[in-house]
């Protein structure tokens, strides 16, 4: 039975259901217990699972991320919440050196079944240090998986997959989406990691998005539809592994492709997708792949500047018009 719940509730359901099913799963992070979660994602979980499994930490990302990783070496399956992925930078050595490389460096002896999750990307006027989009930076590292859900249904299904996965999974959420509501089935289901979904069918141009950018793509597609351009929106959902087959299928149909990525453009997921599409769809493309990114600047505080920085609908519309001019 599906009912409409918020994104944050979907995340909570995923964690709670998995914790009921598996005593090895625990949640650790800043303000996850007594405070009910800085963004209320873990609200009520302390009450149900108690302080041994819902664990408040000091402001000490390197310490508690490393603690979580160490505990996987003895079979536990932690969920580590970063209040913001921006704060994960101080734990970079633990999450990039230890988690994704442990299996390899130990010759298969110690895997690292851990989930790191939290808010990623610009919130609302938080300034540069709190507005990190870590996806392009972290997706560069082999050994980890990365999911970026755009809606409550996928958030619950993907997070459950992540908790059951035997590899480290980075789950990037957006503060701007936590209150978004959507239909979510009650009880158990999973969304497999590595499978994109067609968010909206179209015929003239493929828009590749993930997470919050799917909403920017929607706005742009609405506007372009009024101009007679039919966009197909692909919601990638997972970044590692990336469902290239889904992109290729769509591009072979539309012959045009625009990638929308909320991180910076240089050496990014956007550039990766463009390179792969150029290689796989060389004979199918009627123009080169266009990319829409955050502007190549630190995130500003001022509201209007921040909105302009984002890969917003206006920029996507301009890119689609530009790429399809010869259609």
């Amino acid at each position: 039975m599906a009912r409409e719940i918020e994104f944050r509730e979907a995340l909570r359901e995923a964690m709670s259901e998995e914790m009921r099913a598996d005593p090895r799963v625990y949640l650790i992070g800043e303000e996850v217990a007594d405070y009910n979660g800085a963004y209320k994602v873990s609200k009520g979980m302390l009450e149900e699972f108690g302080p041994r499994r819902i664990i408040d930490t000091p402001i000490s990302e390197s310490g508690f991320a490393g603690l979580g990783i160490g505990s996987t070496m003895l079979g536990l399956r932690p969920i580590v919440e970063f209040m913001s992925w921006s704060f994960s930078l101080v734990a970079a050595d633990q999450i990039l050196n230890n988690a994704p490389k442990m299996l390899y460096m130990s010759g298969g002896q110690f895997g690292c079944p851990i989930v790191f999750r939290g808010n990623d990307g610009a919130g609302g006027q938080l300034g540069s240090t709190h507005s990190w989009c870590v996806e392009s930076l972290y997706a560069n590292v082999p050994g980890l998986k990365m999911i970026i859900p755009s809606n409550p249904h996928d958030a619950k299904g993907l997070l459950k997959s992540a908790i059951r996965d035997d590899n480290p999974v980075f789950c990037l959420e957006s503060e701007r989406l936590l209150s978004v509501k959507g239909d979510v089935p009650e009880g158990d289901y999973v969304v497999p990691i590595g499978e994109a979904v067609i968010h909206r069918e179209g015929t003239d141009c493929t828009l590749v998005g993930f997470g919050r950018t799917v909403y920017f793509c929607e706005q742009a597609a609405d506007e372009l539809a009024r101009e007679g351009i039919s966009c197909e929106i692909l919601d990638m959902r997972s970044i590692r592994p990336l469902d290239l087959d889904a992109i290729i299928r769509s591009v072979k149909k539309t012959n045009y492709c625009v990638v929308v990525d909320q991180s910076w453009s240089f050496a990014s997921i956007g550039s990766e997708v463009a390179a792969e599409v150029h290689a796989a769809c060389f004979d199918d493309l009627d123009n080169h792949v266009h990319r829409v990114h955050n502007d190549d600047v630190p995130a500003p505080y001022s509201h209007d500047l921040e909105q302009e920085m984002l890969p917003n609908a206006r920029k996507i519309c301009e890119a689609v018009r530009s790429v399809t001019y010869n259609a």
């Binding site: 310490g63 050595d93 002896q109």
Partner: protein, 374 residues
């Protein structure tokens, strides 16, 4: 009975000196580590081993004494100068050499190298290359034993983790974060600082505030701490036994400053210009292996003949281990994409345990041979 000055008070150590047979096994363990390192340096010079090589000569009493005070299931984790701990834990030296030589029979199938000796069967959790980064992991091991024993099994915490670090790691933030977490979560962990007086080439006094009394760091966190000598394996064991037993009973962390000395350089490329030859000679005269040997001879627990025979036996074992490891094949190129992910997708081919940890496969192979022969 020895008396130790701790950060807080003077304690009388009541742990008895073990039987001569136990002491002889420790002598054997220390000789094995020393010989392993001598051969490692040789292999490095012969280009059989590559990368970085950090040898443990001079510090043998620390790993052997500390690990003797623990149960075999108690987790051990350390930094990159890790051969001694792995061997003291029970890693077969031939598996260690195979790892150094980058061969498939190594403990990490040749993917970890000198700095990443892992051995799950012997509760050895690495071998970690970034200074101090093993300390948060160590708190995770202690967290996991306590969580498993108390939350999952509903019993009481009974394991103790030994997390080794060097004096150089004391200035890493992650170490301080780990110590804070260990205290606030009441984790059963002993932070064993192998204070060999140099952070690479920088003397502890030049880089560490209150470096003359590093237990001050622990006191600041409200953690019990003491300083002990690290060149006498009996002393290390007796002090650590008391500490480990206390941590097992109280489930509160402990910090121990172990005074030791690195006879060789930081790594193989270290000309050691930051310390004098006289200083080195002074500490070499305090060799932990010679110290235990003298003790055993004086106690008439061992004869000169027995000592010679033991040394010879160890030298032979290590020579055979080197030869065995040299025969081990280099990993197949397909190993490049193996062990990146636990599962299979795209270029990644899933994972498997090193051969020596998989007795089922060995048995199958043995059975296969037998049936082929019949």
């Amino acid at each position: 009975m020895s008396t130790t000055e701790t950060a807080n008070h003077v304690v009388e150590n009541t742990v008895p000196v073990p039987d001569p047979e136990v002491l002889k096994s420790w002598l054997r363990d220390m000789l094995q580590i020393r010989e392993f390192e001598v051969r490692s340096m040789q292999a490095y010079q012969n280009k059989l081993a590559g990368g970085f090589l950090h040898v443990y000569n001079g510090q043998e009493a620390v790993a052997v004494g500390c690990i003797a005070a623990m149960r075999h299931t108690d987790p051990v984790i350390t930094a990159y100068r890790d051969h001694g701990h792995a061997l003291a834990r029970g890693l077969d030296p031939k598996i260690g050499f195979a790892e150094l030589f980058g061969r498939i029979d190594g403990c990490a199938k040749g993917k970890g190298g000198s700095m990443h000796f892992f051995d799950r069967n012997n509760s050895m959790f690495g071998g970690h290359g970034i200074v101090g980064a093993q300390c948060p992991l160590g708190t995770g091991l202690a967290f996991a034993t306590k969580y498993t024993e108390e939350v999952i099994k509903g019993g009481t915490s009974e394991s103790v983790t030994a997390c080794f670090l060097g004096d150089g790691a004391l200035n890493q933030g992650s170490v301080h974060e780990a110590m804070n977490l260990a205290v606030i979560f009441n984790l059963p962990i002993v932070f064993c600082v192998e204070n060999n007086r140099y952070a690479m080439g920088t003397a502890v006094g030049r880089c560490t505030a209150s470096g003359n009394q590093i237990t001050n760091r622990a006191v600041a966190f409200g953690m019990e701490a003491r300083s002990i000598g690290g060149m006498d394996v009996i002393e290390v064991y007796r002090e650590m036994k008391e500490i480990v037993d206390q941590v097992r009973a109280t489930s509160k962390p402990y910090f121990v400053d172990i005074d030791t000395y690195r006879f060789k350089g930081h790594s193989m490329s270290d000309p050691r210009k930051y310390r004098t030859h006289e200083e080195e000679q002074e500490f070499e005269a305090d060799d932990p292996i010679e110290k235990l040997t003298r003790y055993l001879l004086a106690q008439k627990a061992m004869t000169e003949e027995e000592l010679k025979s033991l040394s010879k036996q160890v030298r032979l074992e290590i020579r055979e281990a080197v030869n065995w490891a040299r025969q081990s094949p280099v990993p197949d190129i397909s190993e490049l994409h193996h062990d990146v992910y636990a599962d299979t997708w795209g270029d990644y081919t899933g994972t498997s345990l090193p051969g020596y940890m998989n007795p089922a496969t060995d048995e199958d192979a043995a059975t296969g041979e037998a049936s082929n022969g019949s």
